[in-house]
């Protein structure tokens, strides 16, 4: 559907973006970043939805259903966990109130 070379360009540019954005990040953010990027590949949910939406035999539908289930878990879980971690980072900033964290 996408011309092979165009896909190659997009692969390359996206890879550079990801690499450049992460380069020079302090160690203390490694875990939230890992979890944040974990959330971002939760976009696989969209693909699983498309797969299930076009599945035809019961077997395909079953696999598609499991796929959507897993994808939804990735997206939702990744979000919650990342948000919880980053929330704490925020409250530790000097200047921010020290009593308002969970």
């Amino acid at each position: 559907m996408i011309d092979g070379f165009l896909a190659l360009y997009i692969f390359m540019l996206a890879a550079f973006c990801g690499y450049e954005i992460i380069a020079r990040v302090p160690v203390i953010l490694h875990t939230p970043l890992m979890s944040g990027s974990n959330f971002i590949h939760g976009i696989v949910l969209v693909g699983a939805m498309i797969a299930l939406g076009h599945a035809q035999t019961p077997f395909e539908i079953t696999i598609g259903f499991v796929g959507v289930l897993l994808g939804a878990g990735n997206a939702a879980g990744g979000y919650v966990v990342t948000e919880r971690m980053l929330e704490m980072f925020k409250s530790s900033k000097p200047g921010a109130g020290k009593g308002d964290q969970g």
């Binding site: 896909a7 875990t31 971002i40 939406g53 796929g67 939804a72 948000e83 530790s92």
Partner: protein, 485 residues
């Protein structure tokens, strides 16, 4: 292009943009919080748009699966303790890998069906180019699409089973490392077999049994590959599988013609690969060493340590610190296990009130994940400016009266400097033994992650305060309060 598909495509574009912007914000502490929200908005947009794709069947099943998946993950994600974050990330990551594998499986099975090899009579013709037009699965995949689809399925499956093993290990469901002779050879053979079957599939010879064999081999490889890796190396491995899932998502996105998946997946793939390298570097290891190394397994003869550990009472320890000028608190993995961060911060606040200069010193790999201690101390409300990193604090130890080590072991082990046979030899450490007095809180004579003795505990200026981290910190708090009364 009619309106609805254009709108849907616009949503996908916005989602990709928001993901990148979000990730950018996440990589700086100042803006990190907003970053995840931006990315979240992008995800919402993309998922909502997908519901409106034309020619989607099984919509009620989709809604049901999304609702179940989201609520289960949301519920566990909200409840889980901060210390269990690494395994949760592993779990969710494995789910993503599984989803990518499932997409690949549906594509392959659909392809096989279209080839008529499975002899299933479809209720509708699989060859309906129009109905798959925008983002559906093309019934007949081009060779490039088929290859990338198979590759994505392979990577996704490995990430799936590997991440689940990582989860189980970190969760404590699988304490022992699973090692047998020739393991590495078996793993390589498994991988080779999976690749060969994959190549056959990608060349268009798609059939049911072959697909099944392919996934079984990939699952097994992910499993066996991860089993021998020690629990504490897991963060690096999880980060690697995170990058794997990203790649798998990107490749499956290509097959589906979905640019948001392609871009988001590839961004994560690259970012995750770099993160993995950075993490391994912070632990003074190489990725290869993490994956195939025998960290702490064999090792030479350890240096014998002379002397005895000298215990101290909580009351004496409290007095020492109450009348000290400078105290540096060094937290380690034990702090996380004992969830002692709140008590320790309460104790530190009491000291500060008495005029003692208190700092927290954090080693880059203290705990079990990068930034572990920062997260815990931040949770307890310790302000940023009291927290020093290794390079900052090491020159200050000679001027420190009391270094309070709580649940840390490897990161303060002087053998890292002196014993070339030690598995942690060469790792930079926090130089606590340079302080006038050292007080160590731990439960007993347990070793740390590296499983080795610690010369610090036998040093002349070291006193051991045995007990659970939280309980010991509580005792210190009480002693300090009674001093004031």
């Amino acid at each position: 292009m009619s309106l609805l598909p254009t709108l849907i495509k616009a949503c996908y574009f916005l989602a990709a943009l928001l993901f990148i912007l979000g990730l950018k914000r996440m990589s700086s502490p100042r803006t990190a919080r907003g970053g995840i929200v931006w990315a979240g908005v992008g995800m919402l947009l993309a998922v909502l748009a997908t519901f409106f794709l034309p020619d989607m069947h099984n919509r009620s099943l989709i809604v049901a699966a999304v609702l179940i998946g989201v609520s289960a993950a949301w519920w566990t994600g909200r409840r889980v303790a901060m210390t269990a974050m690494p395994q949760m990330v592993a779990l969710y990551n494995g789910m993503g890998g599984g989803a990518a594998a499932a997409i690949g499986a549906v594509e392959l099975i659909g392809y096989a069906r279209a080839l008529g090899l499975l002899h299933v009579v479809p209720n509708t013709s699989p060859l309906q180019p129009e109905s798959w037009a925008i983002n559906g699965l093309p019934p007949m995949l081009s060779p490039v699409e088929l290859s990338l689809g198979v590759l994505g399925a392979l990577i996704g499956t490995v990430s799936f089973s590997g991440s689940l093993v990582a989860f189980a290990k970190l969760q404590g469901w699988m304490d022992k490392r699973f090692v047998f002779p020739g393991q590495r050879v078996v793993n390589m053979l498994l991988l080779a077999a999976a690749v060969v079957v994959g190549v056959v599939l990608a060349s268009g010879h798609v059939s049911g049994p072959l697909i099944a064999l392919f996934f079984v081999l990939a699952l097994l490889f992910g499993l066996l590959m991860t089993l021998p890796i020690g629990g504490a190396d897991m963060p690096v491995v999880i980060s690697l599988y995170n990058a794997f899932t990203g790649l798998a998502v990107s490749f499956e996105g290509f097959v589906l013609g979905n640019e948001a998946m392609i871009i988001a997946g590839m961004v994560v793939g690259a970012a995750g690969t770099l993160l993995t390298q950075l993490m391994a570097k912070a632990m003074n290891r190489s990725i290869g060493n993490v994956l195939f190394g025998s960290f702490g397994a064999a090792g030479g003869e350890a240096q014998a340590i002379e002397g005895a550990q000298k215990p101290v009472e909580a009351s004496d320890a409290a007095v020492m610190m109450a009348y000290a000028e400078r105290v540096v608190i060094v937290p380690g993995y034990g702090l996380a296990v004992a969830q002692a961060q709140h008590k320790v911060w309460e104790f530190a606040q009491l000291l500060i009130k008495r005029g003692v200069k208190v700092k927290f010193a954090i080693h880059p790999v203290a705990g079990r994940m990068p930034g572990h201690m920062n997260v815990l101390l931040a949770e307890a409300g310790v302000p940023y400016d009291l927290i020093a990193d290794m390079d900052e604090i090491n020159p200050e130890f000679p001027a420190t009266d009391v270094a309070l080590v709580i649940g840390a072991n490897d990161v303060v082990n002087p053998l890292a400097k002196t014993d070339p046979a030690s598995p942690i030899y060469g790792m930079p450490i926090l130089d606590v033994s340079a302080a006038k007095h050292v007080i160590v809180i731990k439960r007993g004579k347990g070793t740390g992650f590296a499983g080795i003795e610690n010369a610090l505990f036998y040093a002349d200026n070291t006193r051991m305060l045995y007990g659970d981290g939280q309980a010991a910190a509580g005792q210190l708090v009480n002693e300090l309060k009674s001093l004031d009364d």
